[in-house]
């Protein structure tokens, strides 16, 4: 019976040890404010995820240098959601249930964000959304616990749509990433374009990670639009724009897109292919504001010289606004912080930003930009009130 008993004991020990190991060191050091950060750090959105993480680090270290908030410093725990919803849900659950974070920040992929919103709400944790743009996040899927610091496909559409129809052309073809963000971006823009007298002559969607766009380009060429509007992001948009250019399609078609198309994480890789592209953004790093200058100076230290874009800027804002809200509420308790966040205004690098209480969407100005020689030229501006759009959140 000797070896048998030994085995049983060993086996049980492994099982219990394994389970126990996962409990991890119980964080009795609630002297810090723990932020759980979810971002895509691998795959096609990795470059966006990096911007999110760099800016959050910058904000946290800036706040900690001043002693943090309510006498407590911030601590970050980061997880890679791989832009994959099931993985995002698991990581978010782990951050909340195992790492016992106080607040959740993330993420980039709208599909992941929509899922982790449910997780955050289930566990009654505040979620700050720094990048995702799908309209549903603050419309039909809105949540009391979620605050969107980034823009919104609808805001983008309101900012650019009318201008495009007046200045670029009437016949529009759309290509988008085949998930919430891409589809939302196309749907909202198509609506605005049509309302302003434009025509939607076709739409096509490419799965995330599509590498060869030849068939899509064939369809686009066959449709012969005046303007191509695209809602692709990350590496996909780099490949698409490069391939679009190498097939000579830019000569016949004007190209506009959601801001993911021109942000600093993709622009260098596209080179000359990006010339003349038009987009709308809430932020360019050349904005002449003192808040922006300090932000940019600080940011490049975290990013190895890469210039900030609207993703990094919003991620930075998210942390700063959270700190402001905690200060205002004088508490970490969810209900009080939510109340403090609603209606909060902040002098951000991008301009003045306010969180609308009704749907937790930040309202901000939009800039219409065109790329020339790798640089942004601001060719138009729409103020927050013009682009805001209605509050379509009915859940709280």
């Amino acid at each position: 019976m000797g070896p048998l008993r030994r085995f049983a004991i060993a086996f049980a020990a492994i099982l219990v040890g394994g389970l126990g190991l996962m409990a991890g060191p119980d964080d009795a050091s609630s002297q810090t404010i723990k932020l759980g950060v979810l971002a895509p750090l691998s795959g096609t959105y990795a470059n966006i995820g990096n911007h999110e993480v760099w800016a959050i680090r910058q904000a946290v270290e800036q706040l900690n240098r001043k002693g943090g908030v309510l006498g407590r410093k911030f601590e970050i725990v980061t997880e890679d959601d791989e832009a994959n919803p099931p993985i995002g849900v698991r990581k978010a659950t782990k951050l909340i249930a195992q790492d016992k974070v106080d607040f959740l920040v993330g993420t980039v992929h709208s599909g992941v964000t929509l899922q982790i919103m449910s997780v955050a709400e289930k566990h009654k944790k505040i979620l700050l959304i720094p990048v995702s743009e799908a309209a549903a996040i603050t419309e039909e899927n809105c949540s009391k616990y979620a605050f969107r610091i980034s823009g919104n496909a609808r805001l983008q559409a309101n900012g650019l749509g009318a201008w495009m129809v007046q200045n670029l052309g009437k016949r529009y073809y759309f290509i988008g990433a085949d998930y919430a963000m891409g589809r939302s971006g196309v749907a909202t823009m198509a609506e605005v374009v049509k309302k302003n007298g434009g025509e939607d002559i076709g739409e096509v969607f490419a799965p995330l990670g599509t590498t060869d766009f030849a068939s899509y380009l064939g369809k686009i060429k066959a449709a012969a639009p005046d303007v191509l509007f695209l809602t692709l992001a990350g590496n996909d948009v780099v490949r698409f724009v490069t391939q679009l250019d190498s097939f000579g399609l830019k000569k016949q078609i004007k190209v506009a897109g959601s801001p993911q198309m021109i942000e600093t994480n993709v622009l260098p890789a596209m080179g000359a292919a990006a010339d003349d592209l038009v987009s709308v953004t809430r932020y360019v790093y050349t904005l002449d504001r003192p808040e922006n200058k300090t932000f940019v100076e600080g940011f490049v230290k975290y990013s190895n010289g890469e210039m900030p874009n609207q993703y990094s800027e919003s991620s930075y804002d998210a942390i700063m606004m959270l700190a402001m809200a905690i200060e205002k509420a004088q508490s970490l308790e969810e209900g009080k912080v939510i109340a403090a966040l609603e209606g909060l205004s902040f002098a951000a690098p991008r301009g003045n930003v306010t969180i609308r209480a009704g749907d937790h969407q930040t309202l901000h100005d939009k800039y219409i930009v065109q790329v020339k020689g790798g640089k942004y030229q601001i060719i138009g501006k729409k103020v927050a009130a013009e682009v805001a759009g209605p509050d379509l959140c009915a859940k709280f």
Binding site: N47, A206, G209, S215, G218, K221, Q243, S246, G248
Partner: protein, 291 residues
């Protein structure tokens, strides 16, 4: 009607041809290995991926695309040889299920090893030339047309190797009848290792050739392997002409059908075709009805 033909159909046919040839390029190594060893190498995509990464590193160090191509092919072949000798050879005597699963397990390991060595961020490998050629009313990237030429050259070279050289003849002999070849004194184990290495080398080279189109990233093998399986099944397991024919047909059909249906649905057609072939004529279009 003529504008449809010239403006839409012809370009899509051209796309289809180019895409089909890239499929053939990827699938040919797979087909070779199955034909000779009766193994479907689930790690084929990962050998392609490792070749692409080695090529990327070689290019980063030397700036030469051609050196990258050589490096990628060589790396693939070397890795393939090692894998066959140490992980597959022990499995030949056992239930064939384990051989299949063994290559699947290797694919998992290789993806992770690549991630550890090269990182999770996709990398760019620029083509050797960036010109565009004006045909059929559009500017067509010359590199894509060059791929047509490369693939044809590789297929032709492979064909010549298999039919005109002694090594090639031995390989074909082993494919036909292993036991007789053994009786004739051929070291079949070594032929297996060599063939697998050749298939892996082809995979690595195809990785480098595809990289300018699709970028270099750890899951690039997964993205192509299922289509490669479809193509070798539709063409007929073990048949080279079958693989080539199926690749071109699949490429053309997927491409042309995108005129009417979304590209993702076009891909579904390919797998439906794979199911149909397996049910109706498992030997495929040009395969032999032996098993």
């Amino acid at each position: 009607m003529t504008t449809f033909l010239a403006g839409t159909l012809l370009p899509q046919l051209l796309h289809g041809l180019v895409y089909g040839m890239t499929l053939a390029l990827v699938a040919i190594g797979l087909s070779l290995v199955f034909g000779v060893m009766h193994v479907i190498n689930f790690a084929h995509g990962e050998l392609l991926m490792v070749g692409a990464f080695v090529g990327f590193t070689a290019h980063a160090l030397t700036g030469s695309f051609w050196l990258a191509l050589l490096a990628g092919g060589a790396a693939g072949a070397a890795l393939g040889g090692i894998i066959e000798r140490f992980t597959l050879r022990p499995l030949y005597a056992r239930n064939p299920m384990y051989l299949l699963l063994g290559t699947y397990g290797l694919s998992l390991v290789l993806v992770e090893v690549a991630r550890i060595v090269w990182g999770a961020v996709p990398q760019k490998l620029p083509p050797p030339f960036e010109l565009s050629v004006h045909i059929l009313g559009l500017d067509y990237p010359a590199y894509r047309l060059a791929l047509l030429a490369f693939t044809s050259a590789i297929l032709a070279a492979l064909w010549l190797f298999l039919t005109r050289t002694q090594a090639g003849t031995i390989i074909r002999g082993v494919a036909q009848d292993r036991m007789i070849m053994e009786a004739l004194g051929v070291n079949v184990s070594r032929v297996f290792t060599g063939t697998f290495a050749l298939g892996a080398g082809l995979a690595g080279a195809s990785g480098v050739l595809l990289a300018p189109l699709v970028a270099v990233y750890t899951t690039m093998g997964l993205d192509v392997i299922l289509s490669a399986f479809a193509v070798i099944i539709i063409g007929g397991l073990g048949s080279f002409p079958g693989t080539l024919l199926a690749s071109i047909i699949v490429g053309m059909v997927e491409s042309v059908s995108t005129i009417w249906i979304p590209p993702t649905s076009a891909k579904t057609l390919t797998f439906i075709a794979m199911v149909v072939i397996l049910l109706v004529r498992p030997a495929g279009l040009l395969g032999e009805e032996t098993r």
